[in-house]
Symmetry: C2
Subunit: 321 residues, 2 copies
DNA sequence: CTGAAAGCGCTTACAG
DNA sequence: CTGAAAGCGCTTACAG
């Protein structure tokens, strides 16, 4: 319609900087507009062997991963990359299936978010045909990974409560498979072990949700739990624990201090407002995407990038009675 | 490597039911395994003019849309469809750009989630080249849409509070551009207007977040707000309002009842537990995707599918003092 | 500055 | 049951 070859048309549509006569350029653009031309990314991708897309796999879409994805999206948008989203639902087979699917779609890179013992079955770094970056602690050695220092975060929480005079603690934990949580707990232990006074630490484990925290904490209180400070693996677990404490007439923070991790937006509007370790999920996502882009670009990337958590002290943690 | 033509290879790889000699089939499968063959979805898509993917656009990833996406994902997985995710961040230009991008990628259909006055600039149904389904109220007539009856939901909330003896209400609203919220408010008004007793309704508007709810409610209380029942557009706003009430010494639920919408997972662990209208976001997502698949398949689809919200009464709403 | 042509990796009538 | 060949819609050396 513009009276030019497809080669020329392609050049004006796809490469803004390619030298094309101004008049020709105009004719092509006008024709494209009149025809309602929409270029075909599959054909483009096929011939360039590049899809300008990345696969993002998360276990689920709760607030922590949602924040991570928003960070990934922000960086991806800036880089002109489209996100293919996959929810693994903590299922290893599903996760492997998503990897295969994304590989078939020829994503330029893969971002795998997790905080637990999620494996990439049979996928070592050398077997993975495309750049892959992990976000959050997980059991896949050899891939570049972006993490937040959970040991330091746990350490700092314990230090905070210790400085408020607390000596009897309860830690609400899932099980050992969850690296993030295991490390937070380890950090707490590291601090306590180097302390110069006696302390008590009860671990309530098998806690994966508000509901678990609520019921386990309820039982523990009936069993005479003596802790004056409760450390929950996440704000969600803290919320469940606070409900159980309140229901048992143990007022937070007067009778028991509570601290969580993640610092969800809502936590500051709880009453008492919840003290929480802020884990920079969005920042991790952004950094992960940028690392991936560098790897796709053939650059050397750090094998481990570590961000810091920051304590946000609020009303739920006050000096021990 | 299997000593067959690409046509035959394609048939065993891509069409399980195509008649191919058993021995040939085995040779192809073995060769594919040995070669680590991964089929190219871009080439496949190009030749079939079908990408087996759908574009999903949401304003942001907070809990409501996260639940919606989980529903969409569940149905999409079942249908063998991959999700391309786009966050519009409430920005119309960004949204339009995402639509264009998804069109270039030749998604088989588009799912647009919103609850506000988000437009598809210059895209009428006839101009949209692919099947498109809307989820949540929005300003784009002519597209099939999946909604929850927000007027009925608002009506029911008012009825609930009325039956508890409340006659003085405050409604926390964003502005008129938000269809979901406007309808919830309308439902409240509809109920009250047909009531047979005097009542008072204060509207606090301009509320888009926990923070807004917290500060506007704080001001209103200082100004002598007389409401014994607060209706918030979402649980998030309810949380902010509850914090302001607590800080002002107006105990929930003894002095003031509070009700929200959305019924986030956490709401039941607040103390008092928050009474909330459960909006079936996941169900909306699932139904939206299924409607889209039907439309892609060339079937006739309903122009409007309406789900019902369900009231979950909890401790935050009790009889008026 | 422009075009002819090959190639990206599949699918699918069509013929045998 | 199998293959040769055209075609999907781009990009990009190569030549002019």
């Amino acid at each position: 319609m513009a009276g030019v070859s497809v080669a020329t048309a392609s050049r004006v549509i796809a490469k803004a900087d390619y030298p094309v006569a101004a008049a020709t350029r105009v004719r092509v653009i006008e024709a494209a507009g009149a025809l309602g031309f929409v270029r075909n990314a599959m054909a483009r991708g096929l011939s360039r062997s590049r899809s300008d897309s990345v696969g993002v796999i998360v276990p689920a879409l709760h607030a922590y991963y949602a924040a991570m994805i928003e960070g990934i999206d922000e960086a991806a948008t800036r880089q002109g990359l489209t996100i293919l989203l996959g929810l693994s639902r903590g299922d290893e087979a599903k996760r492997e299936q998503l990897v295969t699917e994304f590989l078939e779609r020829r994503v330029d890179g893969l971002l795998i978010c997790a905080g637990a013992d999620d494996h990439l079955p049979g996928r070592t770094p050398t077997e993975m045909p495309i750049p892959t970056v992990l976000i959050g602690q997980q059991a896949n050695p050899g891939f570049p990974i972006v993490v937040t220092d959970n040991v330091a975060a746990g350490y700092e929480v314990a230090e905070h409560l210790w400085s408020l005079g607390h000596r009897a603690f309860a830690y609400l934990a899932p099980d050992k498979g969850w690296h993030d949580f295991r490390d937070r707990q380890a950090g707490v232990s590291v601090f306590l072990k180097q302390a110069d006074e006696a302390y008590k630490l009860d671990v309530l484990d098998g806690i994966y949700s508000e509901a678990d925290a609520f019921s386990r904490m309820g039982e523990a209180l009936k069993g005479g739990l003596a802790a004056t400070a409760v450390i929950a693996s996440t704000d969600r677990h803290a919320l469940g624990a606070m409900a159980a404490l309140t229901d048992a007439g143990r007022w937070v923070p007067d009778a028991v201090a509570v601290v969580g991790f993640d610092n969800y937006l809502s936590s500051q509007y709880l009453r008492p407002a919840l003290t929480s370790m802020h884990m920079p999920a969005g920042e991790m996502g952004r950094l992960g995407l940028e690392t991936l882009v560098a790897a796709i670009g053939g650059h050397q990337v750090p094998m481990r990038s570590e961000l810091r958590a920051t304590l946000v002290a609020r009303g739920s943690s006050v000096p021990s009675p």
